[in-house]
């Protein structure tokens, strides 16, 4: 495989396909999610190119690329400032349906994920069930060929944009809480669903609370057997193995820092990039990011050769998030006083006002603040370490 040629092919496509507005959306992305409209526009462009789901098997619309090609593709997308695609359909539900869905479910839903017609959100966490997901309480009671769902979900990203939600619901009370959970696909237009947007620390809405009040869901919308939803949901975690692309994120962060360094001075007017103390700390973070990149490559190289990543997969998530947070803190420090202006509207690619901070510093505080969530969602860093310890110690 000539990866150099592949990289050039990807780069050429990105050069052409990424409009200035889409690039702007990527540059202004400060969290997992870029501007929603731009995200979906880019989704449709990639769909037309056939590159929207590189991680899917080719027979369902994947690209057939090996893991290294996917690594290169992700890296090039990030470095070209492409906005991130929504992971809920492409990274989460799609692979899960391919593994556990009925033929009817696959035939109906997969093409709509690929085309962008369906926008999915994920109904897992509840107000009382965060890291301890298995304690969830939202109930689904069988009534003929429907389930009637009551309860609420929280931290449901993009629920205010989504037209569908996949949920974990309790269908039985069992001694082992995991045993009574089922996995449902729900149309957000079903009567009884209310969405409450939650304003984040950055002043913008990404998360929602979703309330279910007597929501009727057809039984055929269940994925996997009744009460087997936990196994289905766990497959998502397994699928994530080898699917991390922290290195690409870190490179984008480092490039943002480099831009600030080239433009910004320390409080005494000396260019930050010439401050040996700051540079030493930046170099230390860069070297850790490099170590993480090679760890990703080790895992991907190993996966390609048939090895199992084992505890390295959790390692990449834990270390990847923490390195990312360090980089954001360095960017914030480099931005100095320019971190202070608060203009959430300026982070839309369509805004035409005058930003208070220079362009290179516009995202510094939002990135720093938003990225605090990376060690919380998808299993807090503390829970990840518990899991790793079980792997390592067998205790």
């Amino acid at each position: 495989m000539d990866y150099g040629a592949f990289r050039r092919e990807v780069r050429a496509f990105l050069d052409e396909a990424l409009t200035p507005r889409l690039k702007r959306a990527g540059q202004l992305q400060t969290s997992v999610f870029a501007d929603f409209e731009a995200t979906m526009e880019w989704h449709r462009i990639l769909y037309r190119k056939g590159w929207v789901a590189p991680d899917w098997p080719p027979e369902y619309g994947g690209t057939g690329w090996d893991l290294i090609q996917r690594h290169i593709f992700q890296e090039e997308c990030k470095l070209a400032d492409a906005p991130s695609l929504l992971p809920m359909g492409l990274q989460m539900l799609g692979p899960l349906l391919i593994r556990y869905g009925t033929e009817a479910q696959k035939a109906h839903y997969l093409p709509r994920i690929l085309s962008g017609e369906d926008v999915w959100c994920q109904g897992y966490s509840e107000p009382g069930a965060g890291s301890d997901l298995a304690s969830l309480k939202t109930r689904a009671v069988r009534d003929g060929d429907h389930y009637v769902v009551d309860g609420s979900k929280i931290w449901t990203s993009m629920a205010h944009h989504a037209n569908r939600i996949f949920c974990l619901v309790r269908t039985a009370n069992t001694e082992k809480p995991q045993a009574g959970i089922s996995f449902l696909l729900v149309d957000m237009a079903t009567p009884g669903i209310t969405v409450r947007p939650i304003v984040g620390l950055d002043g913008r809405v990404e998360q929602c609370e979703v309330f279910f009040d007597g929501v009727r869901v057809p039984v055929e919308n269940r994925v996997g057997a009744e009460n087997q939803g936990w196994e289905v949901a766990k497959y998502l975690l397994a699928f994530e193995r080898g699917g991390h692309h922290f290195a690409a994120d870190h490179k984008k962060q480092l490039r943002r820092i480099a831009r600030i360094l080239a433009a910004e001075a320390d409080p005494e007017g000396r260019l930050r990039g010439e401050d040996p103390d700051f540079c030493a700390r930046l170099a230390a973070a860069e070297v850790e990011a490099l170590a993480l990149e090679y760890t990703e490559l080790r895992v991907k190289g190993g996966l390609a050769a048939g090895a199992s990543p084992g505890a390295l997969s959790s390692l990449i998530k834990v270390a990847g998030c923490e390195i990312g947070q360090r980089l954001d803190a360095l960017a914030l420090e480099a931005a100095g006083l320019w971190c202070a202006p608060f203009q959430p509207e300026a982070l839309s690619p369509d805004w035409t006002g005058t930003p208070a901070a220079p362009d290179h510093a516009l995202t510094a505080m939002a990135c720093y603040v938003d990225n605090r969530a990376s060690t919380i969602y998808g299993g807090a860093a503390e829970v990840q370490r518990d899991i790793m310890a079980r792997h390592l110690l067998g205790l």
């Binding site: 890291s131 301890d132 320390d266 005494e268 007017g269 006083l337 505080m365 720093y368 603040v369």
Partner: protein, 393 residues
């Protein structure tokens, strides 16, 4: 260095705390920020009525002659309650510089500040320099028996609401950045253009353009040499204030986290039963208390006009920055998702902390300053300074 509070100090701390608890609930703060006012005028007036706006000024200037310990108590409470009103900007910075300047004009403004009628701002930052002592590109040229100011100032906190602005500008005629002198600029003077915005910590600031602003001769409060001296006197109290505010923020974030982790049950037990959570809370406490020691030490040295104060101030700002970041970041981490929302208070401590870090010199700058002031023999100071804190207590 036992900071046993006097009866008056205890009463002051209690009355501030009571007022804020009763009138500055987090919900009220949210409502305020949802509106268009830069801060709560009623809160400001209440501060005036409580005498808080007169607290740090000398009695000869109409003030209450409060010392550093009083400032510490006030700022700590403001930090704990996430108060966005511009006490730091109007009273500490603008008021402090006016008090250092003296004269009739200053006295009138000081009276206005203390009564709550007048707002001020200190406009020092520019692209290329973020400290009051930074050289500036803004120029002050002699013109028609007075001055003509031209330039741009960045991130002027409270600049939009300010009735007057204290602006650093260079009298040198050549281009490039020059040593700053200080000018008093009425907010409504022709040629003053302000572009306001909110800041991440719920305050307001503006970009300030000075398009050939004509000023009378007496508008120059300090020439470059005098300004350097005046700022040196104001600076350490300003640093004390920011540090005490950060300390109050740590207290608020820590208390919320203790309470939350004791109540939040996951995996069948309160979070606070998990050893890792408990030890993290201990580490937060350690950072908070080490930081408190430096803030108290700074107040102690300031109240004694100790020459060690600038060194302690540098140490305190550096340490409070690291400690505040550690405590507020971990407060969010131990809460989980709820702390990433605007509607819950704990995440807001992080944002204020981040802005405090960037104000008046960040951690790296103050560490370097500390080394310079300590001249390589820092921790031996207590032995060389005539017996240390103990000789004069």
């Amino acid at each position: 260095m036992h900071l046993e509070l006097s009866e008056e100090q205890r009463l002051l701390a209690d009355s501030i705390e009571r007022f804020l608890r009763d009138h500055y609930a987090f919900e009220r703060r949210r409502e305020l920020l949802a509106g268009s006012e830069p801060f709560g005028r009623d809160t400001w007036q209440a501060f005036a009525d409580l005498g808080l706006l007169a607290l740090p000024f000398a009695e000869t200037q109409g003030g209450l002659g409060g010392g550093a310990v009083e400032l510490l108590l006030l700022a700590e409470a403001l930090g704990r309650h996430l108060v966005v009103e511009p006490y730091f900007e109007t009273v500490i910075l603008a008021g402090g510089l006016l008090a250092a300047c003296g004269g009739e004009r200053a006295a009138a403004l000081l009276e206005g500040i203390q009564s709550g009628a007048v707002q001020g701002a200190f406009a020092y930052a520019e692209r290329g320099g973020g400290l009051p002592e930074s050289a500036v590109a803004t120029r002050a040229q002699p013109a028609a028996g007075g001055w003509r100011l031209a330039g741009r100032k960045a991130v002027v906190f409270n600049g939009a609401a300010a009735d007057f602005l204290l602006v650093t500008a260079s009298e040198e005629t050549e281009g490039g950045a020059g040593a700053p002198a200080l000018f008093l600029v009425p907010g409504e003077a022709p040629g003053v253009h302000r572009r306001p915005y909110r800041t991440w910590d719920g305050r307001s600031a503006c970009e300030l353009e000075l398009a050939g602003v004509e000023l009378p001769a007496e508008a120059r409060l300090f020439d470059a040499a005098a300004f350097a001296g005046a700022w040196a006197r104001v600076r350490d109290r300003a640093l004390l204030f920011l540090c005490a505010e950060a300390l109050g923020g740590m207290e608020g974030a820590f208390a919320a986290t203790v309470e939350y982790t004791k109540g939040r049950v996951q995996f069948g037990q309160p979070l606070a039963r998990f050893q890792v959570v408990r030890h993290r809370l201990v580490d937060m406490y350690i950072q908070k208390e080490l930081a408190r020691s430096l803030v108290q030490a700074l107040a102690w040295h300031l109240d004694r006009d100790d020459p060690a104060a600038p060194r302690i101030a540098a140490a305190a700002k550096a340490q409070l920055s690291a400690a505040g970041r550690f405590v507020t970041e971990n407060a969010i981490q131990l809460h989980g998702g709820i702390a990433m929302t605007d509607e819950y208070h704990v995440g807001h401590y992080l944002k204020r902390q981040a802005v405090i870090d960037a104000l008046l010199g960040d951690r790296a700058w103050h560490l370097a300053r500390y080394r310079r002031l300590a001249d390589g023999g820092a921790l031996q100071a207590t032995e060389t300074e005539g017996g240390g804190p103990w000789t004069s207590s």
